[in-house]
């Protein structure tokens, strides 16, 4: 029995040797590691978030710099992926980086290259224990790394610890009672990554918290994506059906704070649409992060909720701060003009707009 299992045990011994040395060498670094967890990922990125916010509140023009930091989304999750690419110190991220980079190149031939794509947090301790059992009951799953809690008692092969060659392989600790050949380990890694992504998606797609199981989740995700695309189409039809909106002088509206490099600032200058309508759109955009859709009167009151500095940072603020009451008077006239030209000659929109605007005049002039 022993000789039959010898090749396997050699392999597993070799696997055990390397992490043992690594663990000894990198004992201190591992003490910082935490379970492969989204929470940790978020915690480690909080400094980035606070730095970003500090930068953002400093003053205008910072948006240009911050755009590079944010990579198209503004929460920790999406920050995680570019940090992966840039190889942050976060071990989880670093592990994912190696995973991302090497998963493409990982050749399936050698087991050592398979090992390269495991997570960092599962650095296996030297826990060889019994002689070459396939179940590897000797190996323990260690979620926390470092620490001295290794059951040293089960290491009859301690003599092998010294002669392990140095390597930069990342090893996966096989769980108790599970197979340890390289194929299944890689499979397990892949499954765990996929389940991690599915968890993120579960948070994103509404109404998915009840559904467990990959197939149901995928169905929900597919339905959600399809419904979103249908909504885009429906809304684009609605927008096309609206009578041609009166135009706006985009330059003055954006106040030169245009971030998009592809826009040509002076190319589109049109007659003025009611800028209030656009203000409402922007104010409603401001509520997107809170995922609330308040009534428009309530929305128009939002600028006095924001601190003045923040308001001045946005393009909306630049529009509001243009100049005092004269702007508002002209805008009111524009509104009336727009309403006439839009052909919606009913009094109701006038009153609703008027009712929305007038209470805000004193507030906005502050």
């Amino acid at each position: 029995m022993q000789c039959l299992r010898a090749p396997l045990s050699d392999l597993s011994v070799l696997e055990r040797q390397r992490p043992r040395v690594e663990w000894q060498q990198q004992g201190e670094e591992q003490s910082d590691y935490q379970p492969y967890d989204a929470d940790y990922c978020m915690q480690s990125l909080l400094p980035v978030e606070t730095a970003f916010r500090a930068l953002h509140s400093c003053g205008g023009g910072v948006e240009n710099e911050n755009h590079g930091n944010v990579h198209g989304s503004n929460d920790c999750f999406s920050n995680a992926w570019p940090d992966i690419a840039s190889g942050m110190h976060c071990p989880v991220v670093g592990a994912a980086a190696s995973v991302e980079e090497t998963s493409v190149n990982a050749s399936s031939s050698s087991s050592s290259s398979r090992k390269r794509k495991s997570e960092n947090t599962r650095r296996s301790k030297e826990n060889s224990g019994s002689d070459g059992k396939d179940d590897i009951n000797c190996k323990r799953l260690k979620e926390e790394t470092g620490g001295g809690a290794t059951p040293e008692a089960e290491q009859p092969t301690s003599k092998e610890n010294d002669k392990a060659p140095k390597s930069d392989y990342i090893h996966v600790r096989a769980r108790r009672g599970q197979a340890t050949d390289s194929h299944s380990l890689a499979e397990r890694v892949r499954r765990e990554r996929i389940s991690q992504r599915m968890k993120y998606l579960q948070d994103l797609v509404p109404g998915c918290s009840k559904i467990t199981g990959k197939a149901g989740m995928l169905d929900e995700i597919i339905n959600y994506v399809q419904s979103l695309q249908r909504q885009v189409e429906f809304l684009s039809m609605k927008l096309a059906a609206v009578n041609p909106i009166m135009d706006i002088n985009i330059d003055s509206f954006f106040g030169g704070r245009e971030i998009n490099p592809t826009c040509k600032p002076g190319s589109i200058s049109m007659i003025g649409m009611s800028s209030e309508l656009l203000d409402q759109a922007y104010l409603q955009l401001g509520s997107l992060q809170h995922d609330m859709f308040m009534d428009s009167p309530a929305l128009l009151l939002r600028p006095d909720v924001n601190p003045p500095a923040a308001v001045s940072d946005t393009s909306l603020g630049s529009c509001l701060n243009v100049s005092g009451s004269s702007v508002w008077n002209t805008n009111l006239q524009n509104v009336y003009g727009v309403e006439f030209q839009l052909g919606r000659g009913t009094a109701l929109p006038f009153q609703s707009l008027q009712g929305n605007l007038l209470p805000n005049n004193p507030k906005m002039e502050m």
Binding site: S78, R197, M198, D203, I221, P244, N260, M270, Q284
Partner: protein, 158 residues
Amino acid sequence: MESKSSDENCNNPNSELHPSKLMMASHFLRALFRIQHTTTDSSFAGRSRKIRRAAYASMAYSVGTKRSWSSALLRKLRSRSRLRSPNPRRAKYAALPGKPRVARPQQREMDQAQVLRELVPGGTSMDDCRLLEETTDFVRCLSTQVRLMQAVVDSVSI
């Protein structure tokens, strides 16, 4: 794991507009005005198609090339615009996402991952793990775009 939106809310109680959202909004609104202003004589269907393309374009531009779905989308849009005048028939191969098409019978038996690959731009050449990543980002961006368009519609059609 706490939801990301609540995390944002805790950190940004009076949040300003996010720069990429701002960029998306500005791009989309400019395109919208351009469409409304210049193509007053085109048909309703043509206008709605252009608006839909502008929506996807603003999504892709705001994200840039950091994501593979956005690069694929940008590529599709550029190839469409290039092929538009000389050979309009070839443009249909670069179908934008969400374009209504006849439901093929073999679509039912397709794997779910395959269906998702067809939905997400650039998804056909990705493994499952990467596909889920791209789907997450795509879904977030798409929902932002939908809310932006809804806001514009609401503000215009008071």
